[in-house]
């Protein structure tokens, strides 16, 4: 079953020095349980494509379908609803809320989705156990290491059991060993049924994916299939 599909999607940023074409006529389908890696040099449009797939940004031309819905026809409320319940985001710089504890960060999307407190608490500790951080539930992000912060971010992204997890260079700020642990964890997330699209510069990380797409100048230049 298709989770997200881009059909001839482009994204142009109008800039004072002339329009910048970040994504150029890209077609891509991600099915349930897929594991896709986006590679390519800096500035080739990987993040922009990820934002389009995540309904954070809209295409300038072309059509984007999320679970068969044309995203262009959806309002802020529906798009926000998709981001809340159907998609999880993980970033290079973690983006945890610094004033909340690890558990509160994880519980935030649950609370927003209206999950009652007892269920929310149970799901939060289940998620923290899943990413191996039960002992750090009450720690603030500033009291956690980079790898630990990324685990909290992954737990938060998985809170509402999304169909799709998008990760933009999730190991970009981590050392080799910690990066491998995060890659391992994301592999487990995919094995447990969540479709995954990751952006990475690390070939070893990319090789874990079933499909590796290499981008160049806003287009998909090459596709490699593993497994």
């Amino acid at each position: 079953m298709t989770v997200v599909e881009a059909r001839g999607v482009s994204r142009v940023f109008p800039m004072p020095a002339g329009p910048v074409v970040a994504v150029r006529d890209v077609s891509l389908r991600v099915d349930a349980g897929d594991y896709v890696a986006l590679c390519g040099p800096s500035g080739c449009g990987k993040s922009t494509l990820l934002h389009l797939l995540g309904c954070v940004d809209g295409p300038t031309s072309g059509t984007l379908f999320f679970e068969e819905h044309d995203v262009a026809t959806l309002g802020d409320r529906e798009r926000s609803g998709i981001r809340l319940r159907r998609i999880g985001f993980v970033f290079q710089r973690f983006f945890l809320l610094p004033m909340l504890s690890a558990a509160e960060n994880v519980a935030l999307p649950l609370a927003e989705a209206g999950v009652p407190k007892p269920e929310r608490d149970a799901r939060t500790s289940e998620l923290l156990r899943y990413v191996g951080l039960s002992a750090r539930a009450d720690h603030r992000p500033s009291q956690l290491s980079g790898g630990e912060m990324q685990r909290v971010a992954i737990a938060r992204a998985l809170a509402n059991r999304p169909r799709l997890l998008l990760a933009d260079e999730p190991t970009g700020e981590l050392d080799q060993a910690t990066g491998e642990q995060i890659a391992e964890l994301l592999g487990r997330v995919n094995a447990d049924g969540t479709a995954l699209v990751i952006v990475t510069h690390d070939p070893a990380f990319a090789r874990r994916a079933g499909r590796v797409l290499t981008m160049r100048d806003g287009t998909i230049a090459a596709e490699e299939r593993h497994r």
């Binding site: 954070v56 926000s80 981001r83 999307p109 927003e112």
Partner: protein
């Protein structure tokens, strides 16, 4: 001579002659009974170290000739008058017959019967004009007029307009300041807002959050301002009352003033925070990942 009971007497305000009174003022050698009574203003009593029971001597002449002894029977606080703020408050109040006995020329037998001018205080000052008209028609030859002159009123109208102008400028300037501060605060939180939007909070939801916060801050800020005003009110009053040696009240935060402040400050505070966030929320969620 026994002093007539105060009710019957007509207290005459002697502020005009206060100066020569003090010049001729000297405590009598022997505190004797039987002197007529006199009231002194607190300021005069303080300056001369006098209290009730002391005997003072008044003279109408610079030389002090023909001084008459009086017993101080009380100290009074002169009615505060903003128009007289800088005037000396060295005053004495004598019973009318005593004053006449001192000032009347011995050659003029009628002088003791003559009074040029008396001030009358009414329980209801609003009835002054009506009362004056009444006196004028009832007692031919007497000119009565209300003391509250139009001149005094216009001074306060000018003062109030001045206050209003200061208030408008202050509120405008602080609103601009508040808005700038809110923009800075909100900009500091753009990452937080971005994360919330990415997680799936609608912009309306984030705005509601900001609104609630703005309301809380505006209310607590206004209350803080009021408490500060109330606290400094007595300080300001005490300083100026000391400085001008008067019982006049200079500042007063009345309930009406407090309510007016809240009515202006709270909506402005909320408006500033919402306006500041609005600029942020109108932008795409994208900017977050772009730093």
């Amino acid at each position: 001579m026994r002093a007539p009971p105060p009710r019957v007497s007509c207290p005459v305000l002697l502020s005009a002659v206060a100066l020569w009174c003090t010049l001729a003022l000297a405590p009598a050698a022997a505190p004797g009974d039987g002197h007529p009574g006199v009231l002194l203003s607190r300021q005069l009593a303080d300056a001369q170290g006098l209290s009730a029971g002391d005997v003072v001597r008044f003279s109408t002449a610079d030389s002090g000739a023909g001084a008459v002894a009086f017993t101080v029977i009380g100290i009074y606080e002169p009615t505060p008058d903003p128009m007289q703020i800088n005037a000396s408050k060295f005053e004495a109040r004598l019973h009318l017959p005593d004053l006449l006995a001192m000032t009347a020329s011995p050659d003029d037998l009628l002088a003791a019967e003559t009074v040029d001018q008396i001030n009358v205080a009414l329980h209801d000052p609003a009835g002054a004009i009506e009362f004056a008209r009444h006196i004028t028609t009832r007692v031919p030859g007497v000119q009565a007029r209300a003391a509250s002159s139009s001149n005094r009123g216009s001074v306060f109208v000018v003062l109030e307009q001045f206050h209003l102008a200061i208030a408008i400028v202050t509120i405008f300037a602080s609103t601009v300041f508040l808005l700038a501060l809110s923009v800075m605060l909100v900009d500091e939180r753009r990452e937080t807002v971005g994360v919330l939007r990415l997680i799936g909070l609608t912009s309306r939801r984030v705005l509601a959050q900001v609104f609630t916060e703005g309301l809380l801050i505006a209310v607590s800020g206004s209350l803080f301002g009021l408490v500060l005003a109330l606290a400094s009110e007595s300080l300001i009053n005490r300083y100026f009352q000391w400085h001008y040696d008067t019982a006049l009240i200079f500042v007063e935060v009345t309930p009406a003033v407090a309510v007016q402040c809240l009515l202006i400050a709270v909506p402005l505070g909320v408006l500033a925070s919402v306006a500041a966030s609005w600029t942020l929320l109108r932008r795409q969620v994208l900017f977050l990942a772009r730093r």
